[in-house]
């Protein structure tokens, strides 16, 4: 069970459907695995339904109704199949985007402890990437030019503010500086969704900053 969750603002935008695609994907992976957030997201969706029902109706003529009725024959009701919880531990959205498992991905090595794989969500404004940090490995100290959502998928990591484990959801604001280190016991895989590139504050890596671009694949 995770300890860190999206805040109420984020869950509201999520339930209202106003979050950008890559961000919504990240939040939904957390929510699908978190009963607390599911409950709140459910209430926030009920709120949306209440607002929807209170809208001033906009007239729809019989021609529209007849057009829809005429199309019903082509659209046989779907036999609804309850989504089976797949045997894989990997969230369904990720399996879809990865077309396989973590091992099938194209990983780019960044130093000895970190490798990154960029996934294409189709969201032009957000980078959606998996970070694989070797057990005990450290990501050079960096700051964020924009916001970053991080979701721990496997293992865990720590930084000056605390330690984070599977299922934990973090939102970094512009200017937050940190140097995450994977837990000693196992490799860590995180999903990170960025709306602006990182900026390294670690002297050894600052030369890279001008080359860092947002990768939407």
């Amino acid at each position: 069970m995770s300890n860190l969750h999206p805040d109420l603002d984020l869950l509201t935008e999520y339930a209202a459907g106003s979050l950008a695609l890559a961000q919504a994907a990240c939040v939904s992976i957390h929510v699908n695995d978190c009963r607390r957030c599911q409950r709140i997201a459910g209430q926030l969706t009920d709120l949306g339904a209440g607002l929807f029902e209170a809208l001033e109706p906009s007239p729809v003529g019989d021609a529209q109704l007849n057009a829809v009725l005429a199309r019903l024959d082509d659209e046989k009701p779907l036999e609804y199949i309850r989504k089976k919880s797949s045997t894989s531990d990997t969230p369904a959205i990720l399996q879809r985007l990865m077309r396989g498992d973590f091992s099938d991905l194209n990983w780019k090595n960044v130093g000895s402890a970190l490798r990154i794989s960029y996934l294409k969500t189709g969201d032009p404004q957000h980078e959606f990437a998996l970070y694989h940090i070797r057990a005990g490995g450290r990501i050079p100290e960096h700051t964020h030019r924009g916001t970053e959502m991080t979701l721990v998928l496997e293992g865990g990591f720590s930084d000056a503010n605390g330690s984070y484990h599977k299922g934990d959801f973090l939102l970094r604001k512009p200017g937050d500086v940190h140097a995450p280190t994977a837990l000693q016991s196992e490799d860590c895989i995180c999903l990170a969704v960025l709306d602006a590139p990182l900026r390294f504050t670690d002297w050894k890596f600052r030369w890279m900053n001008p080359f860092l671009k947002l990768r939407t694949v």
Binding site: H5, L8, D9, T12, E13, A16, G17, S18, L21, A24, A25, V27, S28, V31, N32, R35, R36, Q38, R39, I40, A41, G42, Q43, L44, T45, D46, L47, G48, A49, G50, L51, F52, E53, A54, L55, P57, S58, P59, V60, Q64, L65, A67, V68, L69, R71, L72, E75, P77, L78, E79, Y80, K83, A92, I93, R96, L97, T121, G122, D123, P124
Partner: protein, 202 residues
Amino acid sequence: MRLVTDRKDGEGGPHLDADGNRSDEWSECLTLIAQHQDRAAFTRLFRHFAPLMKAFALSGSTLSANHADELVQEVMLKVWQKASGFDPQKAAASTWIYTIARNCRTDLYRRLQKFDTPLSAEDVTDSQESEEAFVVLHQKRSRDRIHALLAELPNDQAQILGKVYMEGKTHTEVAGELDIPLGTVKSRVRLALQKLQIQLER
């Protein structure tokens, strides 16, 4: 809540829920569609919900009237196709239908912006429904409470919720449009949620 009072027993018949109560009219329509492909039930749903869907489509400001009509048709067809996935024990018909409308509108926006994506809005929605009776009852109570309290919200809070939900704007976009600080938008949303008793438990 509307109750169906004018239907004869027999074909279709009124549906009773686990507590022996009549379920509401819209749940019943969805059940009739799922079990009997009932066009009369579909027509009743259409007459009630299609004008709301059209209003919802048009509140999103960037959709033309043609796109709004297209959206209404698409959502109603989805309702027809997916009715067997609706479980009246676990979900409210209005929430179920609103969710389809919301997802279809988001997908339409993305199509219009020529997003090349393997994900639909439905894919990035949480899909778990609780199986536990206690949780289901709790959800129903909170839903009734939210609907009742919604009418009592002050105008400035209701306006912001409308922009976030019906116009599909992020808090930042709402702040820009109303020319008020982002913090004010967030605090009004929070106040509204407090009044509706939607909060994070610790």
